[in-house]
Amino acid sequence: MKEGLQIEELEQEIDKLRQKNADLKKQAFDYEKHISNLEKKLYQYKGVIYSSSALITFLKGPDYIIEFANRPILKVWGKGDRIEGKALFDVLPELREQGIETYLNQVFYKGIPYHAQGLPIEHEVDGKLIRSYFDFSYTPQYDAEKNIIGIGVIAQDVTNRELLNDQVRKREKEFSELIDFMPHKISLANPEGEPVFFNKSWQDYTGKPMEELIQEKWWSAIHPDQLDKAQNEVNEALSRVKDLDMELLIKDREGEYKWHLYRTIPVLDDKGSLSTWISSSTEIQKLKEVEQGKESFLKLVSHELKTPVTSIKGYVQLLLKMIRDKNGETDIPVQPYLGRIEDQIERLIVLISEMLDLSRIETNEMKMQREEFQLNEQVENIVQEVSDTHSDIEIVLNHEASCLVEADRNRVGQVLINFLTNAYKYSPEEKNVEVKIHKYNDDFAAVTVSDKGIGIRERDRRNIFKRFYRVESKNENTYSGFGIGLYLSKEIIERHNGKIILESEYGKGSEFTFTLPLKS
């Protein structure tokens, strides 16, 4: 009984063992399969890690043994690819000096991950330190018992980005300094026109800090008389997204209004939509004062100077007339003297007119009163006039063409008078002058004045049309005038879309031509 029981128990035991064996075999099979899967996965992961553009390394133990490093990090380190199994700071001692060890220790001993962005690191490559910038993370690696066994390093080379950022920061700083350094008042506004920035010059001028200026309405500093116009123009610029230029009186910190040239332009972003308004205001107070001073000076010249001349001229003419009526019955040579006085008055009047014309050109006030007329007729009149006043001049007039023009008759006459008096003035000996009316390039009428005078040197030819330029001569007093006659002539002719042509041979004479578009 006892034996039978034993056998039975043994058989049961065997069954159990068989079962267990089968289970183990199955387990072993599963494990093998699992391991094979793991190997496959590990291989895939390694592939991913190796081919990654990120810099990846795993540092093991307190000595930071390089257990594994992918190709990109090897390349950055520049120490070849046979460094696995070596301690990090043996391979890259320069990193220890840059404080990397502190970061690593913090991770390894305290388990606190370390992340950094744009950290500059220098690597020694071929004996040279090369600076690069990295975004990176140091993360603790654990074993199954949660003990820290090493550090995983994943980094990204962001040198290009950082260099660009550096440049952007540098330029931003430069521009910000520039904007504060400028005497101009610069402000920025959002697309709705609400200000968001005022430079130092604005703050200094108004005596208000930027926050206050931003909160204030922009027009509170504009002179009340200009407010409506300024608001209309600004609103129009805002709605039509266009540039704006205007002169404004702006209040300073003392409450005084000063003239400014205000300009604003819209700035569009890459997509072409409005992103910012840039405005600049430049103080032009002094300029305005000078301008106003000049205007009143002009009035003074024109009124105060012309008035006595008018009176003198009137009396001279009256006396001349009275003497003529009496058939010159007097012993004193009153008539010729008065004649000379009259000539000088005419000269004075011409000088005053030239001075006024010059100012008109500068203030852009010279207006041409165009009318259609026969150029030949006007030239004839002027030649007659000049012949009458200069008895020793001999003018030959040749009509080679009949020319109808649309121009300012008096101004054209003024140019011809200038040419003729120059020809006279600069011909000390032979005062023979030829005036020719002809056609130039089919579409232009031309008047040429030729003399046999002293001629013009090459170097003077370029300059005689400039303001106040006078040809130097041995005797300064030989040639009178302000030196603005030819400048005025050029301005007048160019305002008619014509031009002045000069031909001259030094010592032999000069030839001045002006052209005017023909009226077809």
Partner: protein, 123 residues
């Protein structure tokens, strides 16, 4: 011959024009006070006024348009004169019959007055 009033604050100009016009046989009155213009015209039965544009403190064009508003003077010949440039049109707009730019020639002045006086007598 005409009875002419000269309104100019510059005495020398006023007297000079007076001398010229009297030489030509006109009867001339000169005033430096533009405010008295109307009174002078009525008092001297003036037929033509020579009016300066820039009179101290007063703009000649205002004097001119003031005269034109008055029914009695709306057809009175007024010659305005000035040493300022580009005021020709302004003066004519204010009602001036003729404009003379200073400094003018004696002959121009006489011609302007003759044409008005003779033109009127022809009418």
């Amino acid at each position: 011959m005409a009875r002419i009033l000269i309104v100019d604050d510059d005495q020398t100009i006023g007297i000079m024009i007076q001398d010229i016009l009297e030489f030509k046989g006109h009867n001339v009155v000169v005033t430096q006070q533009p405010a008295t213009t109307k009174d002078q015209i009525l008092q001297h039965d003036i037929e033509l006024v020579l009016l300066d544009k820039l009179i101290s403190g007063v703009d000649g064009t205002d004097v001119c348009s003031e005269l034109r508003k008055d029914e009695r003077f709306k057809d009175l010949p007024i010659i305005m004169m000035s040493a300022l440039h580009n005021v020709d049109e302004i003066c004519r707009e204010a009602g001036a019959t003729e404009f003379l730019s200073k400094p003018f020639d004696m002959d121009t002045l006489i011609a302007a007055i003759d044409s008005i006086v003779n033109g009127e007598s022809q009418n």
